[in-house]
């Protein structure tokens, strides 16, 4: 067992440096993944990775802490060097005693993906995407498997393994495009991927049929697709990380707990125990038991995301959201509303259907002032029907004010994950009023 051998060797080296380290966490992950990347309807490259990743947390009871991330061939040597360097740092204001690992081991694996990545079976990844039917498209599809071992200085030991199949596709019809993504834990012979590609294709073809129009900057009603809703709810849950608060990089403040921060139509859940999403885990990076929880319930901020360090600093309990360094969400879920997809354009009435975005940037993290740029299909809707396609527009304002103006949340949810949706996110469309739109000067 490669993981055990490495973990034990690293642990032995750390223990041999008696007196230098009082507490430690060792995680060893064996990762294998393969990605088919497409451009102009063909594979531009297929990439394969097979790595061992070692994470170390070393601490002394006087509060000195040291992290090490190793994706290297000689982790034992690096571990010894890290243990030596603990002495170089001063006691940290973030130190908290190492918790017992009360989480559970887990397995959330599709044997088909695991066997494919081991070379034991073949999958027709390119064929299952039905690329021949798509026409010009770009994107990627990735299959992955990770197995992890967790050890700590309390003698706790946990294991975990999980698989994923995720990707996204941008379909071209002339210079009009549509893009959609998918994510999940199992290989369903490409079914989710084909469904996502079909949506992307539909958006490109819808825009191709429509005239190109220009709009004036101003306030509009907008319908956010699950792509852009996914991006923005990720922003909200990362803003709820207590580390962001400590580093003055969030608009969320402790006094907002229990207060309404966005529309009461919005409930956003951090869901590490959701089995159909790839970031499923029963323990966090500190070994602490994870739990599904609403971070925002009907618009009210319920909790920040904590590890034991941020929790101690802020006088509360960990929420089981430790990454090796900072607390973060796992899987993100937006609770569905009652707006059916077939009636959402009618509900929008007069407004803009924004189907994708990128480059979300903050002018001011503390005030939540940001902008994000649309890409792919942007559809002007009049009388509840698509009337024109727009060029790229920019949504600006404060993220909390944007989400304060939610009018309706969709019924149908989509599992999204891509460049701009870093955590697996299950979200429907979201209808928002009074959204500020700006445009560049030509």
């Amino acid at each position: 067992m490669v993981l055990d051998e490495i973990a034990e060797a690293v642990e032995k080296r750390i223990r041999s440096l008696e007196g230098k380290v009082d507490e430690y966490i060792i995680t060893v992950e064996e990762v294998s993944n393969r990605m088919l990347k497409l451009a102009n309807g063909e594979a531009s490259v297929t990439q394969n990775w097979r790595t061992i990743e070692v994470g170390l947390y070393l601490a002394r009871r006087d509060g000195r802490i040291f992290y090490t991330g190793l994706s290297a061939h000689d982790p034992e040597k690096a571990a010894a060097e890290a243990a030596r360097l603990v002495e170089a740092v001063e006691p940290s204001p973030l130190y908290a005693p190492l918790p017992r690992a009360d989480g559970e081991s887990y397995s959330n694996v599709d044997p088909k993906i695991k066997a494919y990545l081991e070379g034991d079976i073949q999958l027709d990844l390119a064929g299952d995407l039905e690329l021949d039917l798509v026409g010009t498209a770009a994107g990627m599809a990735e299959l992955g498997y990770v197995r992890r071992l967790f050890l700590n200085s309390h003698g706790d030991r946990l294991t975990g393994e999980r698989t994923w199949f995720k990707g996204y596709m941008r379909v071209f019809r002339g210079d009009r495009t549509g893009q959609w993504s998918w994510t999940g834990v199992n290989y369903d012979n490409g079914e989710r991927a084909r469904k996502a590609i079909q949506v992307a294709r539909g958006l490109a073809e819808e825009c191709e049929k429509l005239p190109l129009e220009k709009i004036e900057p101003g306030e509009y009603r907008v319908l956010l697709s699950p792509m852009i809703a996914g991006n923005l709810v990720n922003e909200v849950l990362f803003a709820a990380s207590a580390a962001r608060l400590i580093f003055a990089m969030t608009w969320i403040k402790p006094e907002m707990l229990g207060q309404r921060v966005v529309s009461d139509k919005l409930t956003i859940i951090d869901a590490p125990r959701r089995k159909d999403l790839p970031e499923y885990t029963l323990h966090d990076a500190e070994g602490v038991k994870t739990r599904d929880k609403p971070v925002i319930a009907e618009g009210v901020l319920q909790t920040l995301l904590h590890n034991t360090k941020t929790a101690k600093l802020m006088g509360t309990e960990t929420t089981g959201n430790a990454g090796l360094i900072m607390p973060e969400p796992f899987n993100i879920i937006v609770e569905p509303g009652d707006l059916g997809e077939e009636e959402q354009l009618e509900a929008l009435g007069e407004g803009i259907y924004v189907t994708n975005n990128w480059y979300t940037r903050y002018q001011n993290y503390v005030e939540g002032t940001f902008s994000t740029v649309s890409r792919d299909a942007v559809i002007l809707v009049k009388n509840g029907k698509p009337s024109a396609c727009l060029n790229r527009i920019r949504i600006t304002g404060k993220i909390q004010e944007l989400f304060a103006n939610v009018e309706a949340v969709g019924k149908t949810r989509w599992p999204m994950e891509w460049w701009e949706v870093p955590k697996p996110t299950l979200t429907p469309h979201i209808l928002i009023s009074k959204t500020k739109i700006s445009l560049p000067t030509i």
């Binding site: 063909e42 360097l85 941008r170 893009q179 790229r392 920019r394 700006s438 000067t441």
Partner: protein, 481 residues
Amino acid sequence: MAAVHAPLGVDDLEKLVEKALSLGASYAEARYHSLGGHQVGIMNGRVFAAGTTMLSGVAVRVIVDGGLGFASTNRLTRDSLERVVAEAVSAARLSASTVKKSPVKMDDSPQGTARYSVYEKEPLSSIELADKIALIQERVKSADLSYEGIEVKGLTVFYEELTEEKVLVTSDGGMVEARIPRVSIFYNITAKNGSETRNRFYHIAWSGGLEGLDREDLREALEDDVRSLGIALVKARKGPKGEVDVVLSPELAGIAVHESIGHPSEADRILGREAAQAGLSYWREYKVGDRLGSEASTVIDDPTIPGTFGFYLYDDEAVPARPRYLLLEGRIWEMLQNRETAAVYGVRSNGAARARDYKSEPIVRMANTYFAPGDYTFEELVEDVKEGVYIKKFMEWNIDDYRWGARYVGLEAYEIRNGRLGDPLKDVVLEITSPRFYSSVDAAARDLKLYPGFCGKGEPMQGVPVTMGGPHIRLRGVVVR
């Protein structure tokens, strides 16, 4: 010259290349690549964490039947290395099964055989981590962070040193060993006046040793940024809206050329290879020699500038690096090319292939991109403006995925009236298309400053070290809000 301390040498990598060729590859390259060093985080004057990063392993890239395959591992046993070659070939065959129109091939660029190392006057290994922390702390603690009317609510400083070592062998005769140490200091400072706040992120970085700490003044940068925050929070007022002349600082010129010339000049983006990720390029609508901007607009990307964060002498396809004139006196002049894109265009690579680490394929990237200096002084740029705005520092920026429409929001900006700088202005927004931007430049100053950054592109995302900069430049008749 410091040697590359790699567990695999040229001979070992040659064997991997030979193995790939024997398995049916028409082209193969093998790269040992490591990135290692320390990080320290300092929050409000106290070290909150320190750490070490070490990424090292082998990447193999091959072409089989016109399909491109890449595989990497950090297990360096004989079995793992044989497996990584076989997996690269298998990956290439999967690619080839979908390729009907555009089989991948490499151009015939000359291949370098070289060994180079960035000189460290004061090597990163010459002092202990504790002493480095003390050096940073000394600079942070000596900074005067006061400004009347504001309260500094938080200061987080990150120090990172990473030494990159590479050994590259290609089946076309390329053989490069390189060692580049780099140092970065980032900070985020937040200040408040009543209910109003502002953040400032700033990055100081270089390639070389600890001598850069004396050249790049962290204390001065912190004090200057606190002044900027104070001006924005206490003195600035809403400024003019509409069409005015705008003078941009080297910081603004830098982000603009990176986003709206550097990225669109990437040949892989123009060809659509990054269409679903970093996007396309408005350069698709132009050909070399077409006019995009005014004669005052020249933009260069040059990896060979010593001491810069984006420095290298050979790219990750063993092609010698050289300056690239992306925009010459307003005309589209040269795209950034790697060997794959150069073969498509029937030209030679200009050495723009870069891979972040052993897990990354080499793709077309910028290095040090800057607006070429002109003949003016800053004062001369300003004195010829009747009504305008000077934007000195920015907060928010972004650009669409066609690199057409960009937005920059000023942190520190001033009114210009009758040739003189006037009152500070609050949150000036310049939202403009790329052709309009470069057509509007009528003059550039003689000064030049480069700013470091990490540039993201690829799938998986690769952040590579770059710089971006320029002189002060003047734009005539552009809309601000």
